[in-house]
Symmetry: C2
Subunit: 205 residues, 2 copies
Amino acid sequence: MDTEHNAEERLLTAAIEVFCNRGYDGARTQEIADLAGISKASLHYYFRSKELLFRKAVQKVFSLIIGNVARRISEESSFEVVIRQLVEGYFEMFIHFRTQAVFFFTEMMKHEELLDEIVKGIDRSVLLNGLMLRFQKEREEGKIIDMEPVDLLVNIIAMCGYPILAEPLLKRVLTLSNDEYQTMLNRRKEMVVDFVLRAILKEKE
Amino acid sequence: MDTEHNAEERLLTAAIEVFCNRGYDGARTQEIADLAGISKASLHYYFRSKELLFRKAVQKVFSLIIGNVARRISEESSFEVVIRQLVEGYFEMFIHFRTQAVFFFTEMMKHEELLDEIVKGIDRSVLLNGLMLRFQKEREEGKIIDMEPVDLLVNIIAMCGYPILAEPLLKRVLTLSNDEYQTMLNRRKEMVVDFVLRAILKEKE
DNA sequence: GGTCAGTTTAACCAATTAGTCAAACCATAG
DNA sequence: CTATGGTTTGACTAATTGGTTAAACTGACC
């Protein structure tokens, strides 16, 4: 726990950690306060209620994650490079924000109205206008196979995210040790890029 | 709530529903008992504690899900057909058991020791020996590209499962209406099969 | 009918927990 | 110094909730 910043910031940071690890219902305001090194009464002074604190925490997590992705896919490089950057970007995002991502899947399932509020506030132009148009352009130029850009994007995100999100389960079902699983994850970055390019590029070398 | 079966079964069914919707911490034993139409005291009579009931519930859910997958991929058809069956099988599994699958990602992250116990009890021969060997065979015969069978399987599961698990989030980030999202999911079954086959088949038509 | 094991429940208990509040603690301006 | 505003907290409360218990109920078997 950092002890530098002011009380409000420290509480929010602590809240993110506790909510991500324990979920909304499992989180205790006392634990958040303790982690921040501040009394529980102060927590209510700043955020009024657990629910309000939760909202602020979710918003902050989401803006952190989103910022991280958008930064990487604004390039104007060759198509292959764009795919590679995209895969690497999502991969590292999911590794870095694994607990937060899992947290989103579950908590947001229960608090869907919060998602509306949050997604409304983000800038999707990079993703939707930048990236999707680029996919569309390649398609129209006949360089890639005829598929919906959105399907391609979802495929990429899925192949990057799923093995990280489902690690505890996959590891056991596939009977892989921690090391073996890590090896698999390491080779996936390159593998997914190749897999995607083979699936969509039209010219057969 | 079915009222046919005996108390124990009804409690377990109710527990699965409540745990999947609310998570372990969010679930109330009273709600489970009410849903089963049985007193909370009886719940403790049969299962001793919330924790024990939770374990039984998780085990039952898992065996339901697993059974559903294994049944579909035991075919000895052509490779293309195997891929298609696999994709359709996982797709329908994720749609049918969506809340349960999300539940697994979150709760099992917190109770990893439970996963060990559960996965130990299942039969992985169909998946690992049957399917993986088939992939391996095709690879050795030079029909498909040189890639690890496990990577291929993970890619398929990921592309089937992720869009369903992440629906609430994806729907909003991609600014798709419910109908549009449904349309996307519907075309994915065919699309993923094509995508995979293009990525792995060696001969260029 | 009587008994006995298994089942069911209303009433209760102890522990936990989100939220409150009045008093104390600053810092800064007058 | 003192007054004032924002800040901080220990002590408290009301409500919830998992779990217990003793008593009642049920049906099978003698």
